[in-house]
């Protein structure tokens, strides 16, 4: 390799290394500081400033969904396994919203309840055909296996 090409390669390599290190440091800092969501236990521990709008993430507890008959008001309990939190919401819920599904609600705390202005459903990374899921559920019921916990990344 001739010296000019070697020099160009070194310069480009150094610049790339510098940018790479800067980005890596930025990413490390951001993973520590930027939280897309808080879980109920973090909220109860007081990690969220009062009156702040934030995202609450958790799994919808089984049998906790209460719908009002005369309005779009919905109440449900989210859990992260360690703590529960009641969420209140007026509006249309996404298709994937159901029991034992991860949801992300945006809103703020009001007297120990979380009043949401937006509720998003989080999808997990598994894709299963309906017949396989039914067969698995049947087998689980037959052998009295508890539902496998949904894959969580919280």
């Amino acid at each position: 390799m001739n010296p000019t090409r070697k020099r160009r390669m070194t310069v480009i390599g150094l610049i790339l290394a510098a940018v790479g290190i800067a980005t890596a440091l930025g990413v490390v800092a951001l993973t520590q500081n930027v939280t897309y969501l808080y879980t109920p236990v973090e909220v109860l521990q007081g990690k969220v400033p009062a009156d702040a709008r934030f995202r609450l993430g958790g799994m919808v507890k089984a049998d906790s969904i209460k719908r009002a008959t005369d309005s779009l008001k919905v109440e449900f309990v989210t859990t992260d396994g360690d703590a529960d939190m009641t969420v209140e919401y007026h509006g249309i819920l996404p298709d994937l919203f159901r029991e034992k599904q991860s949801v992300i609600a945006t809103g703020k705390m009001d007297n120990g309840r979380f009043v949401a202005t937006e509720v998003l459903a989080k999808h997990d990374e598994t894709y299963v055909p309906r017949d396989v899921a039914d067969a698995m559920a049947k087998a689980h019921a037959k052998h009295e296996v508890k539902d496998a916990p949904a894959p969580q990344k919280q």
Partner: protein, 252 residues
């Protein structure tokens, strides 16, 4: 010289590449069409419904291959940019610049299909989570490379400046890929894994992989067509380009 190395050197010469690519392009389009038809039929008709999303999940047969291509093409562009910067090979400059609009298109398709799926499933078109934001940054990087290339008068200088931007932007690729691991995101984690079992049923997986190969051919065909035109323009003063133009006129 080793015949393979000799062939590789010959491929670097614009007239040789022009003719070689011209022969490949129709085959690549044919492969893309056939594989795309098989993949879409497999995905939209043969694959069973998902247990939670029903039919709505079928958008992954477009969304996921596009997302893979957005990263793949960026890496291709950056590698060619690197070669262009160090060895000043004209063909690499042309290939890097011809890849950018194709990559931008795939990135746009990925973002658009994601938004269309996100509205009914998540409940929102858009959210500023790490995966979505880093993919949007990738689109802006593509647009930046295209913009910079067209902002400078001298074609070869323009290509080198844009190649430099493309090369720097490569730091975004691992961020896009690992964003779902490093942060709590609304976007789900990776389903198809290179190492370890994939979290998708095999009846849904094969159309996805066929589509991934089909999009590779779309890219290859599109890239070679674009590169041929760019080379002809770049070398318009040279004898071979004039001969090609005359031959094309004779055919018309």
């Amino acid at each position: 010289m080793n015949p393979l190395v000799l062939w590789f050197h010959k491929l670097g010469s614009p007239p040789y590449f022009y003719r070689f690519a011209g022969r490949l392009v129709p085959w690549f389009w044919a492969a893309a069409l056939i594989l795309g038809a098989i993949g879409l039929y497999g995905g939209l008709v043969l694959a069973p419904k998902d247990y939670q999303q029903g039919d709505a999940y079928r958008i992954i047969f477009i969304h996921v291959p596009s997302a893979w291509m957005s990263l793949f093409i960026y890496a291709f562009m950056a590698v060619n940019g690197f070669i262009a910067l160090v060895w000043r090979i004209k063909l690499s400059e042309t290939l890097a610049m011809a890849a950018a609009p194709v990559g931008a298109a795939f990135t746009f398709v990925c973002l658009a299909t994601g938004a269309i799926w996100g509205k009914p499933m998540w409940g929102t078109w858009w959210t500023w989570d790490a995966r979505l934001t880093s993919e949007l940054v990738l689109l802006f990087l593509y647009l930046g490379v295209i913009g910079l290339y067209h902002a400078i008068e001298d074609r070869r200088q323009a290509a080198r400046a844009a190649a430099f931007l493309a090369l720097i932007g490569i730091v975004n690729l691992p961020i896009v890929h690992f964003s779902v691991k490093w942060w709590n995101t609304l976007h789900q984690g990776s389903t198809v894994k290179l190492f370890g079992p994939s979290l998708i049923d095999s009846r849904m997986l094969w159309p996805l992989l066929v589509m991934a190969i089909a999009t590779k051919f779309v890219f290859a065909a599109s890239l070679l067509s674009r590169a041929r035109v760019d080379l002809l323009e770049l070398e318009s003063g040279k004898e071979w380009a004039r001969a090609e133009a005359d031959a094309a006129e004779g055919r018309a």
